[in-house]
Symmetry: C2
Subunit: 320 residues, 2 copies
């Protein structure tokens, strides 16, 4: 078997295209120490949209006294402009029925919501001060109301691959929570590696089992990895091999739970897109244009960000 | 199929243990802007050895006026102490017959040599000012002389996965060079991704083809990846899947051709070992002890290094 044949045979088991949801404007900006001006956010979102991104998490309706970084959610939603001539799905993270109520006042300026809870009791308690059962009860109402308003719903399960308080999390427990979210009406489940504890072997087994359990129900299974231990793209590779076609990432490598302190954040969108394109997997994103947005957010924040492509540039730049 | 069964089935196609050669004291220290004091080097090497590392590239006999960072090769080789009670193979990078002559005066203080050339004419010309044919002719003598002295020989082929000047490099061309090195007497071939241009799909196809070509000859095929575009560990994962059991890496993420400027270096040893251990693949290395060495080199160099584990720590630290 030649190298080419071998690569073709390996490629045939990978998806030909994947969806990438850029979550930097929510997950990234929320975790910044300083509040970013709304005008800067809008400019950066416009640059992201210019790259052809088709899914964008814009903001979250959380309590402004708790997360001042996203206190401008209403203003931002009212000001953001949809790209012309193509579809782009805007999503908003919603923590509870009250957050949804606030969000609904800005329809039709977004298309989907994400709701979230943790797969481990301790992390959920730390994060939202509720048991998982209490969270699920609240989310049922949120999802029902969102669907009644015509919104698509993603359910995000934090600490799906491990919890900093409890250690390993049983996949069966994660799947039970996912099944409840699906029953409530979520058509997409995002499994989050909140503190970067996943390894590729685990990821492959997890998603193969998840597809067996949810694959028939036409539920989209999304991967949300952090690069905390440098394994972000290795986990993406393992997920691709298990059939995952939907990823969440942040430009610049922003975001992510900064635990332990100093850790890197979400998988960087530009590093993700670069790897996917090099592997012949389409994303619909123009990498050069995405890097314009990344350099702009780096300039806005005034510090060196973690995304490798910001330093190295795409492979093809080396021999242009 | 349960998650556990699925993970077990995936694991069964991976090696149960791999060899890791730490190349930081050569590849890393050589690429530092400042010359590191020999006493510091010896202290750091001692810490590396305390982690149980079984393969260590110590230094190189290159021209001291060209690479002052390694001008202390003779003193270092005479001073380094072998770990007690266990084997550790010391290697020395040798550029040419004259370098070997200098190295041989320090036997039996090392066990193997690495010789190198590039797979692309332009890179080889830039690096050693010779054609590939001229390099091979010189290496034939070097390898012969080294073997006559009882030394094991590794041949390292730079730009095996792409060249910053020429772009993609044909695997067949790389294999031809590898075949010549094997004919001269190399029992190990290291394929180097010198400027981090490899992607996992390419890596998988490359190594599967390489094993078909060289697998029968009991030649060890080693992977030397750089994390230039954040794909280092994804490439490791692809290599593992293709059967690679031998890797080279640098503690702290030191080393690597810093092209483009600001790029990160070799795959970080601690990030590599962390991922391997999490996947149940043995390395013989104590990760906690390796991190002691990494923190020491970070303190010695006085700047924040790229290895993720230096910030995040091993997964199990999160829930101790």
């Amino acid at each position: 078997m030649s190298v080419e044949q071998s690569a073709r045979s390996a490629a045939s088991s990978l998806p030909r295209s994947v969806r990438v949801r850029e979550v930097g404007p929510r997950d990234g900006f929320q975790n910044e120490p300083e509040v970013i001006a709304t005008a800067d956010k809008l400019r950066l979102i416009e640059l992201l949209l210019a790259s052809g991104i088709e899914r964008l998490e814009l903001t979250s309706f959380v309590r402004p006294d708790v997360i001042p970084q996203l206190a401008d959610a209403a203003e931002l939603l009212d000001s953001v402009r949809r790209p012309e001539g193509r579809d782009c799905s805007f999503s908003v993270l919603v923590p509870n029925p009250r957050g949804l109520e606030r969000a609904l006042q800005h329809l039709p300026n977004f298309d989907e919501i994400s709701v979230f809870l943790s797969a481990s009791e301790t992390h959920n308690r730390h994060n939202v001060n509720r048991s998982i059962a209490e969270s699920l009860a609240g989310l049922e109402k949120t999802i029902n109301d969102a669907r009644a308003a015509g919104l698509r719903c993603e359910g995000v399960i934090a600490t799906s691959f491990g919890c900093p308080y409890e250690g390993r999390v049983e996949p069966e427990r994660v799947f039970e929570i996912a099944a409840a979210l699906v029953e409530f009406g979520c058509v997409e489940i995002g499994f989050g590696d909140t503190t970067g504890m996943a390894n590729p072997l685990q990821v492959g087994g997890f998603y193969r089992a998840a597809f067996e359990r949810f694959g028939g129900a036409e539920i989209e299974l999304t991967a949300h990895f952090h690069n905390t231990r440098g394994q972000g793209l290795a986990n993406v590779l393992a997920a691709l091999g298990a059939g995952v076609c939907s990823f969440e990432s942040s430009f610049g490598e922003l975001g992510g739970c900064p635990v332990p302190a100093g850790s890197t954040g979400n998988v960087a969108s530009e590093d993700l897109v670069s790897m996917l394109h090099e592997m012949g997997i389409e994303t619909g994103i123009d990498l050069d244009a995405l890097l314009v947005a990344s350099r702009a957010v780096e300039a806005t924040l005034g510090r060196r960000l973690g995304a490798h492509l910001l330093r190295a540039g795409p492979v093809e730049w080396q021999h242009r």
